[in-house]
């Protein structure tokens, strides 16, 4: 028995291997003598336990050390783990924040849509299918979040559910209906419930695409709302949509459908694409979801400007991120993935990231290599130079020679640097609130201010100047409001407290007067026109101010000075902070190429100058066309010189000439011809040339370099 079991297992294993094996020897099953002839071949079974174990092992192995040792591989294992753990800790915190923002951002629309779903019915709309048109703009993913939460609500209230339909689920009407029915049933009953629903019913077995099934389900469960959400309604085949709509509307008396269309372009266009007879079947409302940029701005603010931040993205990364969101189709989720990639690349590739770990000091790591790395940092050099200038040469010597001392100092500088970064972002946030408060500009978002601040230009920027100038002209009501929005850090300083106290005292002293006017207010100046020797002179002079206004102006002056000093002090360039390399990532390149890869550019470059990628065998690095280059590259460069169509024979003779000039008489024409054919077919496979229909012996150019 055991023997036969073993034998029946054996072909199983080999067959599993066949999936990946290219070549094998065929052994007919009945070649085995001891097997009965007419026994069925053993059925293939899924060997689950085996594969799972293997996967688990693998994942455990990966879990153990996802990062590689840096510093030429000399980094210790514990330090690698510390980096990894620091990354995990930091990112999980940030991810939670992102989720919070994403859930919060559409909650209002969710309320509106769910109340629409609740209230609308076919009766209200005289037999039309109630439909909500949700314009999502370029924020394509937001509808998915909305729909999931709507589904949760409907299920918990027992009213029904949401069936999400994507264009990929709808290749033809049969499959679409099958998917709708299956999704609707599994939504509440689960997959097994669907199977038993199909089989355990009275009467004949229905076809899987028969909406009778769904009608039955609706009746049985007492569903009152069945929402059908078309996530990307533009991508659906219009013919299919027309068909589906007419079908749904004829079932509307039995199944309470409500439709939800996600529209990325515009309602008008969506309507225009459908035939009028289908449009006449629908009636409803539209809802507008927030633009992606709005959501992304909030996420960015949470990530960077939260008071417990530890690690920041620099100016150029921020620039890349916001360029992507404003210019391209870029969902908030994609934004977060990019940020995650940036975080990951920092912790993966920067050995100094180990300093983030809380217990890096106590771990007692050997930090020889680490300290050497620190000493090579540009910001460390700047630090040493500053110290020497200030006359602390002994401290510098200590830093350079004593590893332990340097390590402790590093931790200290890291902390102060982080604190300064937090201050910068606090200043950014308060700049934003000031802007809003003073009605200066509504368009400038946190991201714009952040970019300025991260490049260290905010202090001298127009924005801060505007704030300071406008502030001077505020009346007392305005100042009161402004003082309420002052960041905590600043509000705690003695100067501001004193200003606040004096201000309140002033207000109390003159309780019934109108709001106090600032001396800088234009309304208080008087324009005087005098005619001197037939010339008109306009002189402005200050009107005489009442005493309380003069006092108020003094307070304003003091506040102005304090605020100016605060900005000057806080808004330093992050690149000037010591050890900024640890807590600030500002490398644009790996990120940009990962987010927006450029395959065509790379292929064109590889073909036109192959030695950018390959090691040249010739001694003189030359860009000239030579036989040493790969043949496809040679042919491509010849091709670049041609016009829209090119005679194949001309191309061949030019190709041959390259080899002839290089190898002289000893070149073998037949070999080169073979190479030519290979190169040409490779170009064809790359989609660069194709056969020309105009002339038989010509090939047509289909791609131009440098576009």
């Amino acid at each position: 028995m055991a023997l036969s079991l073993l034998e029946s297992e054996a072909p199983d294993l080999s067959r599993d291997g066949l999936n990946t094996q290219g070549v094998y020897i065929y052994r007919p099953a009945n070649a085995k003598p001891n097997k009965p002839q007419n026994e069925r071949p053993p059925k293939r079974r899924k060997v689950e336990s085996d594969g799972q174990e293997k996967q688990e092992e693998k994942s455990q192995g990966a879990q153990a050390r996802p990062f590689v040792p840096l510093l030429n591989g000399e980094e210790s294992a514990s330090s690698v783990d510390l980096r990894y753990n620091a990354y995990q800790r930091l990112w999980s915190k940030q991810e939670a924040k992102i989720q919070e923002v994403l859930e919060d951002v559409d909650s209002k629309i969710l309320e509106e849509v769910s109340s629409f779903v609740k209230e609308s019915s076919a009766q209200i709309y005289d037999g039309c299918i109630p439909s909500a048109l949700v314009t999502v703009g370029s924020n394509v993913s937001s509808l998915g979040r909305l729909v999931t939460r709507l589904n949760e609500r409907l299920i918990t209230s027992g009213e029904g559910g949401v069936v999400v339909l994507e264009s990929g689920d709808a290749p033809n009407i049969k499959t679409t209906l099958k998917n709708i029915i299956r999704a609707a049933v599994t939504n509440t009953e689960g997959n097994d419930g669907y199977q038993s629903f199909l089989t355990d019913r009275e009467g004949p077995r229905l076809l899987a695409y028969d909406l009778d099934l769904l009608g039955d389900y609706v009746q049985r469960k007492g569903v009152t709302k069945l929402v059908l959400a078309f996530r990307d309604s533009e991508a659906f085949d219009p013919n299919l949509l027309t068909d589906l709509l007419s079908l749904l509307s004829s079932w509307l008396d039995r199944i309470p459908f409500t439709l939800l269309f996600g529209i990325s372009t515009s309602v008008e266009l969506f309507e225009g694409r459908l035939p009028r007879s289908s449009v006449a079947l629908l009636r409803g409302q539209y809802f507008e979801l927030h633009e992606a940029s709005n959501c992304v701005d909030r996420i960015y603010e949470r990530l960077q400007a939260d008071p417990d931040g530890e690690f920041w993205l620099g100016r150029s990364i921020t620039g890349v991120l916001f360029e992507r969101t404003s210019d391209y189709f870029y969902t908030p989720e994609a934004f977060c993935r990019t940020v995650k990639y940036a975080y990951m690349s920092h912790f993966f590739a920067n050995p100094l990231a180990v300093l983030f770990s809380k217990d890096s000091a106590s771990a007692g790591l050997p930090h020889g290599k680490l300290c050497q790395a620190v000493r090579n940092l540009p910001s460390f050099r700047a630090l040493c130079e500053d110290l020497v200038e200030d006359g602390h040469s002994k401290q510098v010597r200590n830093l350079l020679e004593n590893d332990e001392y340097l390590f402790q100092e590093c931790l200290k500088y890291l902390e102060t640097g982080q604190k300064q970064m937090r201050n910068i972002f606090e200043a950014v946030k308060s700049t934003h609130t000031f802007l809003k408060h003073l009605n200066l500009s509504k368009k400038i978002g946190v991201s714009d201010i952040s970019i300025l601040a991260l490049s260290g230009e905010l202090h001298n920027s127009q924005i801060v100047n505007d704030i300071l100038n406008t502030m001077k002209t505020l009346d007392s009501e305005g100042l009161k409001g402004l003082l309420a929005t002052v960041p905590e850090n600043l509000a705690d300083s003695p100067q501001v407290r004193e200003i606040q106290r004096d201000f309140e005292a002033l207000l109390e002293a003159y309780p019934n007067s109108k709001p106090l006017q600032s001396g800088y207010d234009n309304r208080n100046s008087v324009a005087k026109v005098t005619v001197v020797q037939q010339r008109v002179q306009v002189t402005k002079s200050k009107a005489k101010q009442p005493k309380q206004n003069v006092e108020y102006t003094q307070i304003l002056d003091r506040f102005h000075a304090t605020l100016g000093a605060y900005f000057a002090e806080t808004l330093v360039g992050p690149q000037d902070l010591y050890l900024y390399e640890v807590f600030l990532l500002d490398m644009r390149y790996p990120l940009k190429d990962t987010v927006a890869p450029r395959p065509r550019f790379a292929i064109e470059r590889a073909l036109s100058s192959p030695f950018d990628y390959l090691i040249s065998t010739s001694d003189t690095p030359e860009n000239r066309l030579s036989a040493k280059q790969p043949v496809t590259a040679i042919l491509y460069q010849l091709y670049l010189e041609s016009g829209a169509i090119v005679n194949a024979h001309d191309l061949w003779s030019a190709f041959y000439a390259v080899f002839e000039s290089d190898q002289g008489d000893e070149c073998d024409e037949r070999v080169i011809m073979a190479l030519f054919y290979r190169a040409l077919s490779e170009l064809k496979a790359l989609g660069v040339v194709k056969n020309s229909r105009k002339k038989v012996d010509h090939i047509a150019k289909t791609s131009w370099a440098g576009l």
Binding site: S131, L133, T135, G137, S138, S167, G168, P171, N172, K174, L177, G203, P204, R205, L207, Y209, D210, D232, E234, A235, F236, D237, N239, L247, S250, S264, T265, S266, V267, E268, L269, G272, R273, R276, V279, A280, L282, R283, G284, Y286, E288, E291, S326, D327, Y328, F329, Y330, A596, P597, R598, P599, R600, F601, G687, K690, A700, T702, S703, W704, L707
Partner: protein, 540 residues
């Protein structure tokens, strides 16, 4: 019950169909033998199904109704016929006897139906197939086969309700009785509307309603419903919508002009002339999101221009995608031979190029003037005998292109009515390389150093994939194939290549823009490109 009685009882609820209901009632009458097959035809909204249903239920003939729109395939239809028949005869729990509830072919249906009807005691059974000409995935012989059902089974009468006018002998059988439901005439339609009560308006005297409403309804028919051949429901909804606004002057107590002190129909009509022009025409088109009715009376006098109900008529595409869409539009609508003149940067500054361009515009202007005069003379321009007309882009074609709503130009397969030499109306396919080249030409913020900046084509491809998903730019092949989808006998429309998952494209494949110019122009303006500047002929 006599046919006349039947028709009288029905016409109370559905007037103006006495003739048809009498015909049907006499054909279905339980006392006479019914024809084996009966065809009922007429365009949509002519009360076909309702009258047939009403007749059979008044006569209490055993019957089954199958709605073809609910059947996905031919097999589904046959199965459904079987079940509804069983259900109508209340023998649903005997389904296992008759083919186990399965029926995959018409010949099986004949046998099963025959068995069922033979074993039931009722003399006559009417099977109504509603909208059978719209059946999806029907085999070609379905209609003819269904018409034979009644011949094989004596007690069965098959009623085929068609919404298209049948061709002669389309059932391959002679002398099949047809009952035609013609569209309602003017007097019938107004009678139907007047049969129902007028929409209630608060504060309107009853005598005004009885006097003015009939005139109002017939005016609506003459001005809006008749010319557009609209159906009764549309007629009714227009009346419901416009009536309160029409009588608003009376309700608001405005003094009528002329000093007679009384509003009569003519005065109201003169007063509300704009109502018929703007709101009336808007009311003809159904929108998914109905426009909010303007309650204030002042709005009637000067109709607000923003009649568009959509939140933002323009889609909010990102900057880069908008630019690509604009280039795609230009690539589709400018003949390729004019590319060097209109886009080449080398020639743009030279004197000769400017002269050339000016020459083109002058010529186009002359042409357009000539064409406008042609139109004035009102002779339908017959294309020269066999002589191929040159592609002309004229101002008038441009204008008509821009005026045409997105519905006509963006409908897949293009509007079949639009033929002829116009190049603007039909977007023509272009290769991708041309799109990229035009993108470089129209880029409003060109890179400072074009040699050094990296190529953008990769970014363009990525965005183009999204635009394709939104069906703003589509592969040219797919656009053509999505044109016709056969219903009866068409089989599954070969649209598998259209499925959005498929994004393969070969190098030489052509693409085509799939939206109308009017909003591309506006969208492009937002990113700083004037489409009119680039379009051949310009829009000056």
């Amino acid at each position: 019950m006599l046919p006349t009685e039947v028709s009288r009882s029905i016409s109370q609820q559905w007037p103006c169909r006495e003739l048809q209901s009498r015909q049907l009632a006499s054909l279905f009458s339980p006392h006479t033998a019914s024809p084996s097959t009966l065809v009922v035809h007429g365009i949509s909204a002519t009360c076909k199904s309702t009258i047939v249903r009403a007749v059979v239920s008044t006569l209490q003939v055993p019957h089954a109704i199958v709605r073809s729109t609910e059947c996905i395939t031919g097999r589904h239809l046959l199965t459904k016929i079987l079940w509804t028949t069983l259900e109508a005869l209340s023998r649903k729990n005997e389904w296992e006897k008759f083919g186990k509830g399965r029926c995959e072919h018409v010949s099986a249906l004949v046998v099963l139906l025959g068995e069922i009807l033979a074993s039931s005691e009722d003399g006559k059974f009417v099977l109504i197939l509603d909208g059978i000409d719209k059946q999806r995935e029907a085999p070609q012989t379905l209609l003819a086969a269904l018409a034979r059902l009644g011949e094989v089974i004596p007690s069965l009468c098959v009623v085929l309700i068609l919404s298209s006018t049948p061709r002669p002998l389309f059932l391959q059988a002679v002398a099949v009785p047809h009952v035609s439901f013609p569209p309602y005439t003017r007097s019938e339609a107004t009678r139907i509307i007047l049969n129902a009560d007028s929409p209630f308006v608060d504060g309107l005297p009853v005598e005004v309603v009885t006097k003015v409403y009939p005139q109002f309804v017939s005016t609506i028919f003459d001005s809006l419903v008749g010319p557009t051949a609209s159906s009764i429901p549309v007629f009714r909804s227009i009346c419901d919508k416009l009536w309160p606004q029409f009588v608003a002057p009376i309700v608001n107590g405005e003094t009528p002009p002329g000093g007679t002190g009384e509003w009569d129909f003519m005065r109201l009509l003169v007063r509300n002339r704009p109502l018929f022009r703007q709101q009336g025409e808007a009311a003809l088109v159904h929108h998914i999101v109905p426009e909010e009715p303007t309650q204030e009376a002042g709005a009637i006098a000067k109709p607000s221009l923003k009649a568009v109900s959509a939140p933002s008529p323009l889609p909010s595409l990102p900057y880069f995608a908008t630019l690509i869409l604009t280039s795609a539009y230009l690539a589709s609508h400018i003949p390729q031979r004019l590319d060097t003149i209109f886009f080449s940067k080398f020639s743009s500054s030279s004197l000769s190029a400017r002269n050339k361009r000016a020459h083109h515009r002058r010529r186009l202007k002359l042409l357009s003037r000539a064409q406008a005069e042609d139109k004035k003379a009102n002779n339908p321009s017959t294309p020269g005998k066999g002589k191929r007309q040159k592609t002309r882009i004229t101002k008038s074609t441009l204008e008509s292109a821009f005026a045409s709503s997105s519905a006509t130009t963006s409908a897949p397969g293009g509007a079949p009515g639009v033929t002829g030499p116009s190049t603007i109306l039909t977007a023509r396919p272009f290769p991708l390389e041309r799109l990229v080249a035009i993108y470089h030409a129209i880029d409003p913020n060109p890179p400072a150093n074009p040699i050094k900046t990296a190529a953008v084509s990769d970014a363009i491809y990525a965005e183009l994939a999204t635009l394709r998903r939104l069906r703003l730019v589509v592969p040219a092949g797919a656009r053509d194939s999505s044109g016709g989808s056969g219903r009866v006998g068409g089989g599954p429309s070969g649209a598998t290549s259209l499925s959005s998952g498929n994004t393969t494209a070969d190098a030489g494949d052509k693409w085509c823009v799939n939206v109308s110019g009017d909003w591309i122009g506006e969208v492009a303006k937002e990113v700083g490109v004037e489409v009119g500047e680039w379009l051949a002929g310009g829009l000056d």
